[in-house]
């Protein structure tokens, strides 16, 4: 399945819903979308990986890039993921110690220390 990207706003947060396969071919589109959001002034981003069925190192690199950009702009970045195969990828790469990972969008937003939720 190809990559799908959709954004919605929840209070002060922008939720980017990602679906399908994030790999070396599709990850540039995810990078572009995240850069558009950040360059457009979005500072609180939650990426919902709930409908992702494949994620590789290229996709992980893009997510870390967004995390770093937002961190240096005093923003926040969190991931939503409750699928065991994807969680295992985060554990094996030690990126579970880098990203705030939450099981639901609500949990990600309410855990954001940088600002109030809706």
């Amino acid at each position: 399945m190809e990559l799908s990207l959709a954004t919605r706003t929840v209070g002060e947060h922008t939720v980017l819903e990602v679906g399908g396969e994030v790999d070396v071919y599709t990850a540039p589109r995810l990078r572009e979308r995240l850069l558009e959001l950040i360059d457009g002034g979005t500072r609180r981003v939650v990426v919902d990986l709930g409908r992702v069925d494949f994620l590789d190192s290229t996709g992980l690199g893009v997510l870390v890039g967004a995390l770093k950009r937002l961190r240096s702009a005093d923003g926040s970045f969190a991931l939503v993921c409750d699928k065991e195969p994807l969680l295992k990828i985060f554990r094996i790469t030690a990126l579970d110690q880098v990203f705030p990972l939450h099981p639901t969008v609500d949990a990600a937003i309410s855990a954001d220390p940088t600002g109030a939720s809706a």
Binding site: E21, D23, V24, Y25, F54, D56, S57, T58, L60, G61, V62, V64, G65, L67, K68, S72, P85, I89, I92, T93, A94, L95, Q97, V98
Partner: protein, 144 residues
């Protein structure tokens, strides 16, 4: 002898094809269903690495993927980049991963290798027997 051989021009768009073929052959070979996600990811990472090396060195040679099911399911992914580029990769510790100074490419390479090492119990990265290049060899048991 390989059961299935696939060679593709080093473009990201073809990596998905290699993954799909690799999993189809694994399933046919009798690899356990619960290992197939790992097979898919590992073949994808090995091919992504090969494509990245070919692009880095401006090589147009195809990337070769050989799948064999004699005894176990083994997959070889062969690139043609200079050997020093392909061997000696190491997984990155967590405090390195989020460092500002680490480029996205370096991070992706380190993470890709961590995934290969983490998901493939029987993994070898070594120079090819003939010519220039490295091969990533991965083996999974078959459940028959």
């Amino acid at each position: 002898m390989a059961t299935v051989k696939l060679s593709f021009s080093p473009a990201p768009v073809h990596v998905r094809t290699a993954r799909l073929v690799g999993v189809a052959v694994a399933r046919r070979a009798g690899v356990r269903e619960d290992l197939l996600d790992e097979v898919r990811l590992a073949i994808g990472e090995a091919c992504t690495r090969a494509v990245a090396l070919h692009r880095q060195y401006g090589l147009h040679d195809p990337v070769l993927v050989e799948m064999s099911d004699s005894g176990a399911y083994s997959v070889r992914v062969v690139d043609r980049a200079p050997i020093e580029a392909g061997i000696g990769l190491a997984a990155l510790p967590p405090d390195e991963l989020a460092k500002e100074s680490l480029s996205e490419d370096a991070l992706t390479t380190g993470v890709g290798f961590a995934l290969l090492a983490g998901f493939v119990e029987d993994l070898q990265v070594r120079p090819v027997d003939e010519g220039i290049g490295t091969e990533v060899r991965m083996v999974w048991p078959v459940g028959r």
